[in-house]
């Protein structure tokens, strides 16, 4: 750290820009927080990080029964496990970014009241540590993939598409969407606690509005437009298309999602910065 640097503290009613330099200064904290999230989550558990895998697996199995067996919702002729699991892991990353960040101010209140550091570090750390969970789940997904491809005889035909290269972009998109919406929610919950309830509704509602338990192609035509308005819809479809070759890949809808993500992220960061200055006064 530079010695004798000059810090000026004053009421910043005018917009002063994002404090990226500050975040860079505290990059070690970012790294340590990511590590902490990862390590602390499974301390004093027997299965430890295995929960990262078991959690979506259980859900996948439940979905396979309820939506696949009972409700007979088609899975684009894919093995149900692969169909649901692919949707779930990308969704759970979004959910980690969104719900995980939606109460940043409240969760960290006791620290924020005592110490200053760029507050955006916490949501960023959440997004990055979510990525670790996603990676583990991704590796296991590949395991299921190979299992179905090579060991379990099935009539289903599926293969990875060349679009697998856009995965990093999709992840970035999901992270931006989750972070942006999460920042909006944390700003609102800081002031009005009602929004912490609303976050749960939104997350759940959005999950059913997103083609995770059904393919977008099964949505009746008159609702198709509305379903595509959900920025996560095209992302999940593209994700599935990249990994399994089924689903839809719509560049225009992805462009829409990208614009949506950029808008939500920038406004979210703006509101977050505006709130963090005085948030301890009313936490």
């Amino acid at each position: 750290m530079i010695k004798n640097q000059l810090t000026i503290i004053k009421s910043s009613s005018r917009w002063t820009g994002f404090d990226f330099a500050g975040i860079w200064q505290y990059r070690d904290l970012l790294f340590l927080l990511v590590r902490r999230d990862f390590v602390a989550q499974y301390k004093q558990t027997i299965l430890g990080p295995a929960w990262f895998v078991l959690h979506p697996l259980f859900l996948t199995i439940i979905f396979s029964f309820i939506f696949g067996e009972f409700a007979q919702i088609p899975t684009e002729s894919l093995p149900p496990l692969l169909f649901y699991n692919s949707g779930l892991i990308i969704w759970s990353y979004f959910s980690a970014c969104f719900t995980g960040n939606s109460s940043t101010f409240i969760v960290n209140a006791s620290t924020y009241q005592k110490v200053y550091y760029p507050r955006l570090i916490n949501p960023l750390a959440n997004c990055i540590s979510g990525l670790f969970g996603f990676s583990i789940q991704g590796v296991f997904f590949l395991g299921y993939f190979c299992l179905y491809k090579f060991f379990i005889p099935s009539t289903a035909h599926f293969e990875m598409s060349y679009l697998v290269f856009i995965l990093p972009f999709l992840l970035l998109l999901v992270a931006s969407l989750g972070l942006g919406l999460g920042l909006w929610m944390t700003v609102l919950t800081a002031k009005y606690r009602d929004f912490s309830q609303i976050t749960g509704f939104i997350a759940q509602g959005l999950m059913y509005a997103t083609p995770i338990i059904y393919p977008l192609s099964e949505v009746p035509d008159q609702y198709r437009f509305w379903a595509s308005l959900n920025p996560m819809a095209s992302v999940v479809e593209a994700f599935r298309y990249a990994l399994l070759g089924k689903g839809s890949f719509s560049p225009s809808l992805l462009l829409y999602s990208t614009c949506f993500a950029v808008f939500v992220l920038l406004t979210g960061m703006y509101l977050f910065k505006h709130t963090e200055k005085r948030v301890v006064d009313y936490l």
Binding site: K10, D28, L33, R36, K43, T111, Y116, V280
Partner: protein
């Protein structure tokens, strides 16, 4: 701009809103927003400034027009009663919350120990927490690496470094927390009442550490209600009251001012006179006129009382109502504001009955005297609080007004053989004897 200063605070103010912000205030907020947008359309800039200056009904100033400058190496004690704005000031200095207006210029890294152990995660080990805590306080990982052994040495939790912090005793986590913060190496250290926790030996260790930090030319802001500690550690001070700076300068001046807070500084001749127009003491029944302290047998008032002399405090007051009855009571306080003694002129307290106590008196001027024995209190600074109540004992006319301060000074009394400093509040001849038992 003077490069010599370490911190410069100009016109700093902070406004808070009273009450809770909940469901009700969403409507309020929307209303405010509506009003604002209307104002911006029709109102002038002038109006905006005006509305900014005026306090709305549920707002108050936690800090108002704070100005000070301190150089590198200054150790500054911040004193004031609860709610005087100390913590708000520290929060602004450590960038936790923004001021409403005004500006702070800080040269160098600031570290605040507003509460040690902040951000400790109970599930993580001491080692992991030291790294995270260091990072939260602004250290890089390599800086912590370098100081890790020192930190652990200082905290004395060697054997528990790899144990989750939730298994620590509260003392251990406080020690570890302070150790991390103390090794931050900031240019400016802000310490808020952290030494209240931890045992005596640890407190001494902390004080030593803070002294050594101060010796290396760092600026330290220290908030504590322990006036002895402040006097020991700090050279300069700020006294806050209701958000205003009442006094700044050398710590002894500030503390002296603080300790006799709301009273008047007694002049060296041991006399305080209230003018006829002093409205703080306005009462239609009785007016306090005059207080003095002197050694018994001496004709002159003097606030310096020799340790072996009896002394008396005389209070003069004027009664305006015929047949009113009064009880006069005094509290004697030490330098830190501890009450040492309470007394009044009730019969059971008096060696000789005071004929004017709680008896109807004529209109006129009265003087009540309380005589204290010499050879009882040790040398030091003391102050007197006055209470005057009417007959039903609940209707107080003067309640806890600090009327006087005085000093008991050393003489040769009990000094023949011993040359050191006598500590303690009392000093009187004691009954000592030794006999051979076997």
């Amino acid at each position: 701009m003077n490069r010599n200063y370490s911190i410069e605070v100009a016109n700093l103010s902070k406004k808070y809103r009273l009450g809770t912000i909940g469901m009700g205030s969403l409507k309020e907020d929307l209303n405010n927003l509506w009003e604002k947008s209307k104002k911006q359309k029709f109102g002038s800039v002038l109006q905006n400034i005006k509305s900014n200056k005026n306090l709305e009904k549920n707002e108050f100033w936690a800090l108002k027009d704070i100005n000070f400058t301190f150089k590198k190496g200054d150790v500054v004690g911040i004193v004031g009663a609860n709610g005087s704005g100390k913590s708000t000031l520290l929060k602004i200095l450590s960038r936790i919350t923004e001021p409403t207006c005004g500006e702070v210029k800080i040269r160098g890294k600031v570290a605040s120990l507003l509460e040690v152990g902040t951000g400790f995660h109970p599930e993580l080990t001491g080692r992991e927490n030291v790294y995270i805590n260091g990072a939260i306080l602004g250290m890089t990982k390599s800086e912590v690496d370098k100081k890790f052994d020192e930190i652990i040495d200082f905290s004395g939790v060697h054997d528990f470094v790899d144990t989750p912090v939730k298994r620590y005793s509260s003392g251990m986590s406080v020690r570890l927390g302070f150790a991390v913060a103390a090794h931050l190496d900031p240019e400016i250290l802000i310490v808020d009442e952290v030494l209240a926790v931890g045992d005596l030996s640890f407190q001494n260790q902390c004080i030593k550490k803070m002294q050594s930090i101060a010796d290396t030319g760092k600026t330290i802001f220290f908030v504590s209600h322990n006036n002895h500690l402040i006097r020991r550690l700090c050279e300069k001070g700020i006294l806050l009251n209701n958000g205003f700076i009442i006094k700044k300068g050398s710590i002894s001046d500030v503390l002296d001012h603080y300790l006799i807070e709301d009273s008047i500084n007694t002049t060296d001749d041991g006399e305080v006179i209230w003018s006829l127009t002093s409205n703080e003491l306005e009462d239609s029944r009785l007016r306090l006129c005059h207080v003095k302290i002197k050694e018994v047998g001496s004709n002159d008032n003097n606030k310096f009382i020799r340790i072996d002399q009896d002394f008396e405090v005389k209070i003069q007051y004027q009664n305006f109502v015929k047949n009113n009855r009064y009880l006069v009571s005094m509290h004697l306080l030490d330098e830190s504001g501890n009450t040492l003694l309470t007394g009044c002129n009730l019969e059971s307290y008096c060696i000789q009955k005071d004929p004017f106590c709680l008896t109807p008196i004529e209109i006129g001027m009265y003087e009540t005297t309380c005589r204290f024995p010499g050879k009882l209190f040790n040398a030091g600074k003391y102050s007197v609080k006055l209470y005057i109540v009417t007959e039903n004992l609940h209707d107080s006319i003067i309640s806890g007004l600090k009327i006087l301060d005085f000093q008991i000074i050393e003489t040769d009394y009990m000094r023949d053989e011993y040359l050191g400093v006598n500590i303690g509040i009392l000093k009187f001849k004691q009954n000592w004897s030794t006999r051979k038992v076997s």
